[in-house]
């Protein structure tokens, strides 16, 4: 795993027992992982148990640690990769274990967080429909035709939007038929 000089320096500071004693290290590790997984958690800066450490150093270490964690999740790094990186940063065995345990604990959540950062076409989340019977309009009387109004809810990067369109019964049957074809292909692909 390639890490920048700044990240390595930050990790080395974190490994240093004169800066972070064992208790502070444990708390720091927990808060660092927490800050990624639950964004509303306690911040590292101003944390009551870490007040004795210089705030600039704290910020640097936090950035280094979180960068390291995310890089590890992104590359799906195994235990030996993580351990060797930490050992390069002069982590003692006990600290390597503490860090790696937290990493394992939070890996799943972090993976799903990262996988949701995606550029993709608007993602359809729901379909709403309305069945109407048109009796007349200003141009033609005695229309007497049923029609559907479909609204597809889509989401993209947190912003939701809608696609509205109308269709007759035959057109809706065509739409549903094609979606069913796609679903059937999916099933066949997963079975083979």
């Amino acid at each position: 795993m390639e890490l920048s000089e700044s990240v390595m320096k930050g990790l080395q500071t974190l490994a240093d027992p004169t800066v972070f004693d064992q208790k502070s290290f444990t708390i720091f590790t927990e808060v660092a992982f927490d800050s990624l997984v639950s964004p509303r958690g306690e911040s590292v800066l101003g944390h009551p148990e870490l007040k004795h450490i210089d705030q600039t150093t704290l910020k640097h270490c936090h950035t280094a640690a979180t960068t390291f964690i995310l890089e590890g999740v992104k590359q799906n790094a195994d235990k030996s990769t993580i351990s060797s990186c930490l050992e390069d940063a002069k982590f003692l065995n006990e600290r390597v274990d503490t860090f790696y345990n937290s990493f394992q604990k939070n890996k799943r959540k972090l993976e799903s967080l990262l996988s949701s950062i995606d550029t993709c076409p608007p993602h359809v989340t729901d379909a709403e429909w309305r069945l109407e019977y048109c009796i007349k309009n200003s141009h033609v009387h005695k229309v007497n035709q049923p029609s559907y109004l479909i609204s597809l809810n889509t989401e993209r990067a947190g912003a939701s939007s809608e696609i509205n369109f109308s269709c007759t019964m035959e057109q809706l049957q065509d739409l549903v038929g094609k979606m069913k074809d796609a679903a059937k292909s999916l099933e066949r692909a997963t079975q083979s």
Partner: protein
Amino acid sequence: MLLVLSEEHKEHLGFLSEVDSAVVGEFGRIAVEFLKKGSNPKIYEGAARKLNVSSESVQHGVEGLMYLLTESSKLMISEVDFQDSVLVLGFSEELNALLLQLYLENRKEVRQILSKLAPSLPHYHNLEWRLDVQLASRALRHQVKPTVTLKLHLEDGAKRSARVLQTDPATLQHLIDELERALAELKSSHCRRILRNIK
């Protein structure tokens, strides 16, 4: 339901009784053509010269016919009602029969043209789909994420548009279930009763 013709309209149509039934037939054909493709004023001049009348009379005659056709088609009046409405103009029986035939032959098409003027949303035209498996992104490697990419073709009057969308297998099934529920609703007894009774 009878068609009520204004005095001006009656006057314009009055021109038709002064000409041959063959000419009226021709005017009828021109009127339908204009409804389908838009009017062409040059035709009025050509016809006016041949008949030795003012082009304005020709124009009024044709436009009168067009309006008669659109109004009757819009209201979908019955044969009997049409004949009674036209009686007011005092035309010969031959002319009345001609007008009736013009109406009956073209009303379906005229209604189709008129319905394009009504307000409407874009409507469904086609759906294309594709199955993909996402393997990696900038943020995360080593993925196996199945996705369904959809291209929804919509039509709004003459404009065609296509929207590219994406969904996952679970949502796709949910969409299918929901839309099938919508289709089933049309077959319910409540809907059937309404469709049967409002005609």
